[in-house]
């Protein structure tokens, strides 16, 4: 192999072949009639993917073609040779190259460790609830005191390594609101019921069924987020225009959210049954949907709206509690009327439901923009 991989065309390369008798006239090796054609063939990949003559010129020069080589092809310089080559690339090949390249915006399969990570918060939540249920007295307190922080740590580990990773860092406000909402799901209903009944006179039991259901709902949340990312990516590759993409992404988003809502309701009904509750915790299910939407928006770089909406939901719930206690002041009895009318269990349903609807509208507008999918939230997840 006397030629290095970067092949430049000598029409008649002089090798070691003619070493024996230099004076004798060697048989002339005839090149093709059209030398540029051979050159085109040799650099067909370069020519096929070149977007303008200058790219061919740069590529030819990188392969050692100089102006003097170009002179052999009857051209003044590499640029004019490249122009001829660009003009002579078969036209019917180009569209296929155009369309083949962007068609596969690959979403890498998530590593197995990340799949397992999605199961970490459910596992920790399940263990906490099991410990709580199996012990009594101080053991329960210890289970809550250990399990709560453990769940927080599990979320801190799992969230940044999945498709729900917040782009550009999480917003502290959003995090604080989320913690408040989870605490409310755990203790809020009991507190409100006790307050409506005139208490609380004794420590009321936390709603462990809701906690378990929410913890278990983390896994389908990750799965749904990945489903959305992959689906949006596929639509991104297929659609020709931004409108087309939006039209395709909107039903996808709605379907994913509906699927997740079904998951959440199913899980919470199941855990409610296990906990022996009569009616399923729709408030907690709506909270799960709300949190998914907020996190989805954060993951795609929209950080303001989720913060505001979660804050609003917190304010609603906090206001309900405050109103019930405020009604005990003389002359303020009317404050508790709305909560008394709907009942304690309906407060989170209304608050989270309203928040989820607002976020769904926001997501339907924002997550169907192509620019939201320019970064890769789902790729390393």
């Amino acid at each position: 192999m006397s030629n290095s991989p970067t092949g430049v065309g000598d029409a008649a390369p002089e090798g070691a072949a003619g070493a024996s008798a230099p004076p004798r006239r060697k048989p002339v090796r005839r090149g093709p009639v059209d030398p540029v054609k051979a050159l085109l063939h040799r650099h067909r990949e370069l020519c096929a993917r070149a977007v303008d003559p200058l790219e061919i010129a740069a590529g030819l020069e990188a392969h050692g073609v100089t102006d003097r080589t170009a002179a052999r092809y009857r051209h003044r310089d590499v640029f004019s040779l490249a122009e001829e080559m660009y003009a002579r690339v078969p036209r019917d090949e180009r569209p296929s190259a155009v369309h083949a390249a962007p068609a596969a915006p690959a979403v890498r399969r998530p590593p197995r460790a990340h799949t397992l990570l999605a199961l970490l918060p459910p596992a920790v939540g399940g263990a906490t609830v099991a410990a709580y249920e199996l012990t009594s007295g101080h053991g329960r307190l210890a289970a809550l005191l250990v399990g709560g922080p453990a769940l927080a740590v599990a979320l801190r580990i799992a969230l940044p390594r999945g498709p729900l990773r917040a782009r550009g860092g999480a917003v502290p406000g959003t995090r604080a609101w989320s913690v408040f909402l989870l605490l409310y799901a755990l203790f809020g209903d009991g507190l409100l019921s006790a307050a409506l009944a005139g208490g609380p006179d004794a420590p009321w039991p936390p709603d462990t069924g809701a906690l378990l259901g929410l913890a278990l709902a983390y896994a389908p949340a990750v799965w749904c987020a990945r489903l959305f990312a992959v689906g949006a990516r596929r639509r991104l590759g297929q659609s020709r225009g931004l409108e087309e993409f939006a039209a395709g992404a909107r039903p996808l988003l709605l379907a994913v959210v509906a699927l997740y809502a079904a998951f959440a309701v199913g899980l919470l009904v199941l855990t409610g049954r296990l906990g022996g509750q009569a009616q399923p915790a729709f408030g907690a299910a709506l909270l799960a949907v709300l949190l998914l939407l907020a996190r989805l928006l954060t993951a795609y770089g929209f950080r303001v709206v989720p913060g505001v909406v979660l804050g609003g939901v917190c304010a609603l719930e906090g206001f309900a509690v405050a109103a019930v206690f405020g009604a005990r002041l003389p002359g303020c009895g009317w404050l508790a009327v709305p909560v008394e009318t709907v009942g304690a269990g309906a407060v989170p349903v209304f608050a989270c439901g309203a928040g989820a609807v607002v976020l769904l509208v926001a997501a339907a507008r924002r997550l169907t923009r192509a620019s939201a999918h320019a970064g890769v939230p789902g790729e390393t997840g």
């Binding site: 000598d10 070691a16 050692g64 002179a71 052999r72 962007p102 923009r369 192509a370 620019s371």
Partner: protein
Amino acid sequence: MRIGLLTEGGYPYVTGEARLWCDRLVRGLGQHAFEVFALTRSAEQEQQGWTELPPQVHRVRTAPLWNADDGSGRGGSGRGGHGRGGHDSPGGGVRYGRRQRRRFAAHYGELAAAISTGAVGAVGDGSASASAEVADRFANALYGLAELARDEGGLALALRSETAVRALERACRAPGATRAAHDARVPDLLAVAAQVEQALRPLSLDWYEDEEGGLGSVDLCHAASGGCAALPGLLARHFFGVPLLVTEYGVQLRAHYLAGAGARADAPAPAAGASARALVAAFHGRLAGEVYRQAALITPGNTHARRWQEKCGAERAKLRTVYPGMAAGRFAEVGEAGADQADPGTLLWVGRIEPAKDLVGLLHAFAEVRKEEPNARLRIVGAPAHGEECDLYLAHCRALAAQLFPDEADGVHAVGDNPVSFEELGGPEAPELADAYAAGSVVVLSSVVEGFPVGLVEAMFCGRATVSTDAGAVVEVIGGTGLVVPPRNPKALADACVALLRDPERRERLGAAARARALELFTVEQNIAAFHALYLEIVSHCPVRRDVVDEDGDPLPFANPAETHVAGRWSTAPGTDGAAGPRFGQWLAARKGARGGPSWASAETGAETGAETGPEEVTEGGAEKGPEGAEGTAPVGAVAAAAVSEGEA
């Protein structure tokens, strides 16, 4: 004079391109005050820290070009322990209101329209008025965006927003868009928007102020490369009229094409299709065109870069070739000692061992040489190379050498040795580069692909006769003080080597001439002196016009005499030269067109007309043009021409 040195991924950092050159320039021009404005390419680079800065560097401002997402909360990294630096972040964009968004959309739409109509190749030829109009459109949009960023704050968010993508889509679907633009799909649009955002990050910097520390306060902007690095200079010229000098040792546009052709490891998220590449290439092409249009002077590092710049629309009158300077001091001893300490029958090859250097061809040529000169030896001194491919190639070359040349010994009782030796630089046989050159009597360069041949210049500094292949800037560097043969022609290479090995007198003559040429053209001093002269020339012809104010800040009328507004004459009298050059070129082109296919002889004359405008290129010209200088009767041209004609047959 206060000079704003604009670099991208380079100078003040320890790892960077053109770092040595900038360092020498700054150290060499102690009479000027330098303010370095550096754009960085990666976090690793910032962590490496800065080089030792001389006192004439008054201020360093750096800004990253690399972070994709978080722009804020990341100041102060990689300061390198210097107190006089500032770290500016273009990332943290401002969320625009409705009016700003409308303004942004209008400018961005213009920009998109400018890059989606017409190919870059049309710049400079063809429909001149149409391409000028497109260039104008691009420039106006660019400055519009810059003004918006200056008035309202960072563009980063807006450039990544849906507004931008939508404007891009509209431009691509508009009538008059190129076919590639018309075929763009959503991933392409996103890729283009991301790349444009990255390239336009310098717009969002807060460098464009009139007061101390801003680009408005310098007298001259010197961009160490084209492309993004020149963008701040372009804006300084737009906002304050600061003249811009652009130095390009490698043309950015070409580097962009080559990077696009390779594996795109750092490509933005959606796989970039052909349409995206076409649009991004058009963007970079237009940007390069605008930089060349606005620059007061452009200094390519060699003729190759110069041709690319001309192709991208640079005016010939603005081009001044300034060769890169190299430290000649370490070769002085070897160079002055002459060739007598060299082993007379030794051919020497020095470089990084990689396929582009065509060592296989060299070994075949050496086989030919050995038939004529049985005592000849070949030493291959390789710089430590990295990479699997290079290791494989080295192993392959060793195997080939062992096959071609059996070990041989002086007598029956002596231990044999191979006539081809592979050595590593820094090893016992060649501890220093100069030692390696000292041992060889003829230095051979067998590259197929070559940029600026540094090894050849080193050999010239050492006063060694050279045989090189005609690749890259070899001909322009050697300029008749060494033998040049076509690449991939071992026979011609062998003939030239044998000719030199047999003629010590000619070797000495060529070596002396080469050393004289190198000392005249490729020294650091030459480089610094050229830039010093260029600085003075620019400042005397297009100074910054600032309003003179008194102590209270009120403008002083008539502080600038009216004469300062009259355009001065360039010292090289472009009225004659600059006008005659192009006209002569046109005449030549017309003649060639009439004659049919242009031959390379006419390309040669074209190069001569190009050389006319550059005052530095006194001794320019192809080696084939014949002997110049010390080489009186040597058949340099004969060897090369014979080989070429053989090749053509």
